[in-house]
């Protein structure tokens, strides 16, 4: 197992370098960011040259990338155009997004798996059909519609919540945004669990467990659910990364100053340092989440071994 982890960690290096290089090149082909810095007028050429020099934009791309990567390994992610260190932006944005992601994942795990188990065990019954219909609706309605609707109803019409999240973004304010963010994945988790449960219900080991006279509860949680969770865990693992980077719509609607918002600003202002810095961290999150998922397989199903 130790060797497996080390091998996986080593594999991350090329993925990491490749991903950052790609992002770097993509932001670069968008053109000269200095042009957008002076508003609807042209920066005077001397100042523009000076700014280019300050941000290292006058060098060839490969050199910019080399310098950038060199700095990253010393913990220096560069400076955004408004004079803030990118690390400073990260230290404000990531905690908020992590809280939001935690809320979303908790919703996915608790509600998603619970609904999945219930429907999986009662296939074809009204509960099953009902939940299937609801998940279908949730999947097909775009997040911004759900988000704006909930914001309008709960925030403005009924006044149960504040329509926008304050700058501290404590957990209790993130519940509705978290639910909105989780909604689509939640529906997928429900459906994945349901299918998996329904499939494994007729497996030999479940029949054996029942025949042994184990209580129903124990059969379901220890035998049936544990074996059915592998596809679900895979999905949730990759979803962590997707939620953190892809929360842009939810973050905009509920005024959450998280990673999505910073990335959006960075792209609008064509700020290479911000975009590459944030994406670098997100790539790491993806890689680590994937590694954890792979390791969890062995916990769920001891037959899976790592050479």
């Amino acid at each position: 197992m130790g060797r497996y982890v080390i091998r996986r960690l080593l594999q991350m290096i090329p993925v990491f370098i490749g991903a950052t290089l790609l992002i770097f090149l993509m932001v670069n082909v968008m053109g000269d960011p200095i042009a957008g810095l002076c508003g609807d007028r042209q920066c005077d050429p001397a100042t523009a040259t000076q700014l280019r020099k300050e941000f290292g934009l006058d060098k060839p791309v490969w050199q910019q990338y080399a310098t950038y990567m060199g700095n990253v390994f010393t913990g220096d992610f560069g400076t955004a155009f408004n004079g803030q260190e990118v690390t400073e932006l990260m230290s404000t944005a990531f905690p908020v997004t992590i809280r939001l992601t935690v809320v979303a994942i908790v919703f996915e795990v608790v509600i998603g798996i619970a609904l999945g188990v219930i429907t999986g065990l009662r296939r074809g019954r009204p509960v099953d059909t009902g939940v299937l219909l609801i998940t279908l609706v949730v999947i097909s309605v775009p997040t911004f519609v759900t988000g704006l609707l909930l914001q309008l109803l709960l925030g403005v019409k009924w006044g149960w919540i504040s329509p926008s999240v304050s700058s501290d973004a404590p957990f209790d304010e993130l519940i509705v945004p978290g639910l909105v963010l989780a909604s689509v994945s939640l529906a997928y988790v429900t459906r994945l669990t349901r299918t998996s449960i329904a499939e494994n219900r007729r497996a030999d080991y479940v029949r054996t467990a029942v025949a042994k006279g184990l209580p129903r509860r124990r059969v379901i949680t220890r035998h049936l659910l544990r074996n059915s969770l592998i596809p679900v865990v895979t999905f949730i693992g990759t979803d962590i990364g997707a939620l953190m980077g892809g929360a842009i719509v939810t973050e905009r609607i509920f005024n959450i100053h998280g990673v999505g918002f910073q990335l959006y600003q960075g792209i609008l202002r064509q700020n290479t340092q911000t975009v590459v810095g944030f994406v670098t961290v997100l790539v790491l999150v993806f890689l680590v989440a994937n590694l954890l998922v792979d390791l969890l397989y062995a916990v769920l199903d001891p037959r899976i071994r790592y050479a």
Partner: protein
């Protein structure tokens, strides 16, 4: 794995705890209302400033908002008329429109106790002009003698650190020598770039940037970058225009739609930029608490005069024809819900007639007349390549809607579905890139927000040969001469009439199509009153009363 069960229970417990506090938030505006005694704090929407908050480095509205509360300069523009009145200036004298003697009022201090002297201004201006400080508004000091030494245009090495045209002659007096005659120069001094700076700015720049110190009616209480800036009334402010409220919390919003929603829910007191999608409802949602007043902003369509196709003889007819083919009235009413006014000259109504605004100066060329438009375009040799493409940036400002409407209007007038199409450019930076590299092949969106309420500011930076914002590279000797003459003219009415003559030259060649004047729009809660927007479409914060 026995631990798995425990983990699951822990997760469930967390979820239960979360559910218990669910919907517990909200309803809390976070401000302690202070009654009508001027101590109440209001909250206002804000956007993340694009640049560090230095007076000579801030060129957009969001940073400008803060500077407007934090600083007072030599002059200040009247919130209603836009007239430049003396603020810190006791007097500004000149005999030749080129050499000015400025006397600063005594008794003013920065909020850290340091006195505002002539040196505070001269040091700040030298800092702003110096190339090595990368100040984006450095060009404001371009009229001052010696600018080419501290800010060499070719980006080469600067040969001086200070402007030779600035001299401190006493504690409260300094002289300014310009490199050309510029009679309205004193009126430009209300712009934020000309604000004075305290010693702390130069001594410890990094600390100052974290929490700027100025000499205006407000001080910064706390600043959490990217989320909220709390500005509080400065009790010892020596000026007449003291804050009527206890302070303003500027809250950064990711989207102005959310800000508007927060206003509706009672969590926010002031939104100074009503989103386009809400304009339709704003009147019924807010009633009297919706403001829609003219601002010094004009939208135009510029042409690439560096492209032979747009600069050959006869093209002025095509350009005029295009202008006539645009149904400004309909577009401003349906798309902009009357938050724009059809333009009939190249300035703005906020200047007032005395300031140089002349309604109808554009004449027939700006009247919708499809039949005549078609004829004019045909007379001029038709559209280059048979089609015009109007370029705009698609990322912000909902430009797509009006560009499509303009094209529709042109297509209808010409009876040709393909005569005009929109050409979206992904990001603003890329759009500006294409403009600065002279890569436009057809007309493109151009907007101008005035720096100071002067007719000069609407004409010279935009249409003078090789001027800083002459993006279309339009050039006319006659226009340039008239502008030079107007700048040298000390008699203001005469100067303005010369500027208007220059504007007529611009009209006859249709150097850019004026589209509409833009209004500022704002909405506010019933907690506050006496809200108004100044000609720069910024709320006049210090006059707002909190009940």
């Amino acid at each position: 794995m026995r631990g798995a069960t425990h983990a699951r229970w822990a997760v469930c417990a967390t979820a239960a705890a979360l559910a218990a506090t669910a919907c517990g938030g909200g309803g809390d505006g976070g401000d302690s209302g202070g009654g009508g005694d001027g101590s109440g704090v209001l909250s206002s929407s804000w956007g993340d400033p694009q640049n560090p908050l230095e007076p000579a480095n801030t060129n957009e509205v969001q940073g400008g908002k803060v500077l407007d509360m934090l600083f007072r300069g030599l002059k200040r523009y009247d919130a209603e008329t836009g007239k430049a009145n003396d603020m810190l200036a006791e007097k500004i004298e000149t005999s030749d429109s080129q050499n000015f003697t400025v006397t600063v009022k005594s008794g003013w201090t920065f909020s850290n106790g340091e006195a505002v002297s002539a040196k505070s201004f001269v040091d700040a201006w030298n800092y702003g002009a110096s190339l090595k400080n990368n100040q984006k508004n450095a060009y404001f000091f371009g009229y001052i003698d010696g600018y080419d030494k501290v800010h060499p245009e070719d980006g080469g090495k600067q040969t001086a650190d200070t402007l030779s045209g600035l001299k401190v002659t006493g504690d409260n007096t300094f002289t300014v020598k310009l490199n050309q005659k510029f009679s309205t120069f004193p009126d430009t001094l209300g712009y934020a770039a000309f604000a004075p700076l305290p010693k702390a700015f130069f001594d410890d720049h990094a600390t100052w940037l974290k929490k700027p110190v100025g000499n205006g009616p407000y001080t910064i209480d706390s600043y959490a970058k990217g989320s909220v800036m709390k500005m509080r009334k400065w009790d010892k402010y020596p000026g007449e225009d003291k804050a009527e409220n206890g302070g303003v919390d500027l809250k950064v919003y990711t989207d102005n739609n959310t800000a508007y929603t927060d206003l509706m829910a009672g969590n926010l007191d002031l939104v100074d930029d009503v989103p386009a999608a809400q304009l339709k409802n704003a009147k019924s949602d807010l009633g009297d608490r919706y403001i829609n007043t003219p601002a010094g902003i004009i939208q135009t369509l510029a042409f690439p005069f560096y492209d032979k196709n747009w600069d050959k003889d006869g093209m002025e007819k095509v350009r005029t024809g295009l202008s006539m083919a645009i149904n400004r009235k309909q577009i401003t009413e349906t798309i902009f819900q009357k938050t724009r006014t059809p333009a009939t000259d190249w300035t703005s109504p906020v200047l007032g007639e005395a300031g140089g605004f002349k309604e109808g100066l554009c004449g027939d060329a700006c009247e919708y007349d499809p039949a005549k438009a078609k004829k004019m375009i045909a007379d001029g040799g038709g559209l280059p390549g048979g089609q015009v493409k109007i370029s705009y940036n698609a990322d912000t400002g909902s430009h797509k809607e009006w560009v499509d409407a303009v094209c529709n209007s042109v297509n209808n007038a010409l009876g040709n579905d393909k005569a005009c199409v929109g050409n979206p450019v992904g990001t603003f930076a890329d759009f500006r890139n294409q403009i600065t590299q002279s890569k436009m092949s057809g007309p493109f969106r151009a907007g101008w927000q005035m720096d100071y309420p002067l007719i000069q500011n609407f004409l010279q930076p935009l249409y003078y040969t090789n001027a800083s914002s002459n993006d279309g590279k339009w050039t006319s000797k006659e226009f340039d001469d008239l502008v030079d003459k107007a700048n040298a003219e000390t008699d203001q009415p005469k100067a303005i009439s010369l500027f208007q003559q220059a504007e007529e030259v611009l009209r006859d060649d249709m150097g850019a199509i004026p589209l509409w004047y833009q209004n500022g729009s704002a909405g506010y809660s019933d907690r506050i009153s006496n809200v108004a927007l100044n000609p720069f479409s910024l709320p006049v914060y210090n006059e707002i009363k909190v009940s």
